[in-house]
């Protein structure tokens, strides 16, 4: 057999074999693995490259080495799933770098991190001011994660005491002018419903690039034709505005009428409406 055919065959075989093996090794982000994991990836890759170029005289030896470097990491992964002790042995433990706003110099020394590097990592996490940091930890992957002081954290609606409506993830129901059936039915809608929605807006299906439906059933469209101005879903805002108008009407009626019974009826209903509007507000306005 000619040498180039041999190289071609072994390369193609190894290509698919390696594809399979890396799928077996898991879908962990390569930038976020522990150093040892990274080394095992590289060793497997180098062995495969050497085999592919026929630099290893005995192919069986190559396969043995490749098998060890692929199977052992997988086996260790399974073992560390079962035992916390093995997990710590293989992956190491996270190191606390800043505690109660104070840098732990010994731990910094242990991770061989200089002050500048720590500051740079903090800046990556948008903590430019060391005084804002309450707690920082180096994960076993070498990533540094930061917990800001309570008064420096971004404000959430919970902090402000505002009630927000639960919002599930939106589903993409149209892509490139094609209706995607599965997400549509997971929302409890069908093609007919979508057809009616498109007709109300006044666009044809093949003009739609992306269509998304949010959890309340509102459809948002992006068209191929960007000169077309689309009415954005504002039904909820309209609904709330209408309630406000009705509430004002009821209050006016209560003031205008001379009939005592009607007056109390109007003002009672105005109050009830006010109560329900306050409950609806987070759901309708956002």
């Amino acid at each position: 057999m000619q040498a180039w055919i041999q190289i071609l065959l072994s390369s193609v075989t190894l290509f698919f074999l390696l594809l399979l093996l890396t799928r077996l090794m898991g879908k962990r982000n390569i930038a976020r693995v522990t150093p040892f994991k990274f080394v095992s990836y590289i060793v497997a890759a180098v062995i495969a490259a050497l085999m592919s170029l026929n630099l290893i005289p005995n192919l069986a030896f190559g396969f043995i080495a490749l098998g060890v470097w692929v199977i052992l990491p997988i086996a260790l992964d399974y073992l560390s799933l079962k035992s916390k002790w093995i997990h710590e042995l293989i992956n190491g433990k996270e190191t606390v770098l800043i505690k109660h706003g104070k840098i732990m110099e010994e731990n910094l020394m242990q991770t061989r991190l200089t002050g500048e590097e720590l500051l740079r990592e903090l800046r990556y996490k948008n903590a430019f001011n060391l005084a804002d940091v309450e707690f920082a930890v180096m994960e076993d992957t070498g990533d540094i994660n930061v917990f800001l002081k309570a008064d420096k954290k971004p404000v959430s609606s919970h902090d402000l005491g505002i009630k927000t409506a639960p919002l599930a993830e939106p589903q993409t129901v149209i892509l490139d002018g094609n209706i995607l059936n599965e997400p549509l039915s997971s929302l409890g809608f069908n093609r007919e419903w979508l057809g009616i929605q498109l007709e109300t807006i006044g666009v044809s299906l093949d003009n739609v690039f992306i269509g998304q439906v949010d959890s309340s059933g509102d459809l948002y469209l992006d068209l191929f034709d960007d000169t077309l101005q689309l009415p954005q879903p504002k039904v909820k805002e309209m609904l709330y505005a209408n309630f406000e108008k009705i509430q004002a009407d009821l209050t006016t009626f209560a003031l205008e009428t001379n009939n005592e019974a009607a007056k109390t009826m109007y003002s009672k209903n105005a109050k009830e409406l006010d109560y329900i509007m306050r409950k609806l507000k987070p759901y309708l306005l956002r």
Partner: protein, 68 residues
């Protein structure tokens, strides 16, 4: 505009709102949201009943404007 026709207009808006609310309460997948919408539906139903009763009295009092 007479009082009766003003009340009628408010009643119509309210009924429209009730319809939209019902649509949303059917469309939503979230139980909590559904509960809030249903509560709002109930309240609007009560107000609609009250307004309709008031409208009957008004039309009885001003029969010349009936149907406006």
């Amino acid at each position: 505009m007479t009082v009766a026709s003003k009340v009628k207009q408010t009643l119509a808006t309210l009924k429209g709102n009730q319809g939209t609310l019902r649509l949303y309460s059917l469309q939503t997948r979230d139980e909590e949201t559904k509960l809030v919408y249903n509560e709002a539906l109930e309240t609007t139903g009560i107000i609609i009943d009250d307004l309709e009763r008031r409208l009957q009295t008004l039309e009885y009092q001003e029969p010349q404007y009936k149907g406006n």
